[in-house]
């Protein structure tokens, strides 16, 4: 009788030991998961706080604008007749392709021409003596790229924009030039207004 009681007790202890080992194992997995999570949080935070980004997109926009101008107006005269046009005679949105610049999807380039009576008028308008350039109608516009990217520029210029957005801030360059346009054999004086936008590379 005593022997039987002892045997039963031993069996119960063995079962309890097995359960304990199982519980210990589960606890170990939980601890391991917790430790891995903490490690990732530490690494993630250090990556965010110590990350340093150098933004060169404004310079890229300037170089892009220069490349487009060198291609379009090599000698101060823009040959409008040589630019590809659609069935309605409107210039196609293929400015980058025309200048053989790699279109990586990061760029928006726009060139607007406003007709003037003479090149002297360009300087008069620049000084504000004759009025504002925006009052003169645009004769033609050459462009290529996604104009919708301008919202990222506006968003990053907002005072309330988070500092993190500077990493995604697009580069922008604007300029204007007095030029002649060669169209149907005529030399037309006017002002050329260029805008180049370079969005992030991520």
């Amino acid at each position: 009788m005593t022997f039987l009681l002892y045997k039963n007790k031993m069996r119960k202890i063995k079962i309890l030991n097995k359960k304990g080992a199982l519980g210990e194992g589960i606890l170990m997995i939980y601890r391991l998961a917790l430790v891995v999570l903490i490690a990732f949080v530490v690494l993630g935070l250090s990556a965010v706080f110590y990350d340093y980004y150098i933004n060169i997109r404004n310079v890229e926009a300037q170089i892009l604008e220069k490349q487009v101008m060198n291609c379009l107006v090599p000698n101060g005269i823009l040959d409008f007749d040589s630019f590809p046009k659609d069935d309605k005679g409107q210039p196609k949105p293929e400015l980058l392709d025309y200048c053989k610049i790699k279109n990586t999807g990061r760029f928006y380039v726009e060139v607007e021409f406003r007709k003037l009576d003479s090149l002297k008028d360009f300087y008069s308008y620049s000084l504000g003596e004759k009025g504002d350039f925006n009052d003169i109608a645009v004769m033609f516009k050459l462009y290529q790229g996604d104009k919708g990217k301008f919202w990222t520029l506006e968003a990053s210029q907002n005072e309330n924009a988070a500092e993190e957005t500077t990493k995604y801030k697009p580069g922008y360059f604007y300029n204007r030039y007095p030029i002649y346009v060669l169209s149907q054999g005529k030399r037309i004086p006017g002002g050329l207004f260029t805008r180049a936008l370079v969005s992030h590379e991520f």
Partner: protein
């Protein structure tokens, strides 16, 4: 009694190993950032991308392998991007360039040569 002690020791050892691993990861990350390999890499890649974009044809850009801030262990030009690996760094996202000219990359014992054709 012995098995309890052994189990406790086993647990302590596992914990110590885990803590050591975390610290190793943390120190590796911290040393990577304090050594500023990433910044050096960014500076070189972006400077070179700007030089490539603004360069005229028949220009050669010479990059010294050993310079005052470290060593350029490797350089690659592929898929419209320039990749610079500084101080045996094994990873780079590269930086895109948009020049319309073709590029060539050559190397000798001292320098890398980026040729704009």
């Amino acid at each position: 009694m012995k098995s309890k002690k052994a189990s406790l020791m086993h647990q302590i050892i596992v914990h110590l190993i885990l803590i050591a691993l975390i610290f190793a990861m943390f120190f590796m990350s911290a040393s990577y950032r304090t050594e500023s390999k990433g910044v050096k890499q960014q500076v070189l890649e972006k400077q070179l991308a700007l030089l490539i974009d603004s360069a005229e044809p028949n220009t050669t850009i010479i990059v010294r392998q050993i310079y005052m801030n470290g060593k350029v262990s490797n350089m690659e030009i592929k898929q419209g991007r320039i990749f610079v690996y500084v101080n045996d760094q094994g990873y780079s996202k590269g930086y895109p360039y948009f020049t319309k000219y073709e590029l060539g990359l050559e190397k000798d014992d001292e320098n890398y040569y980026i040729k704009i054709k």
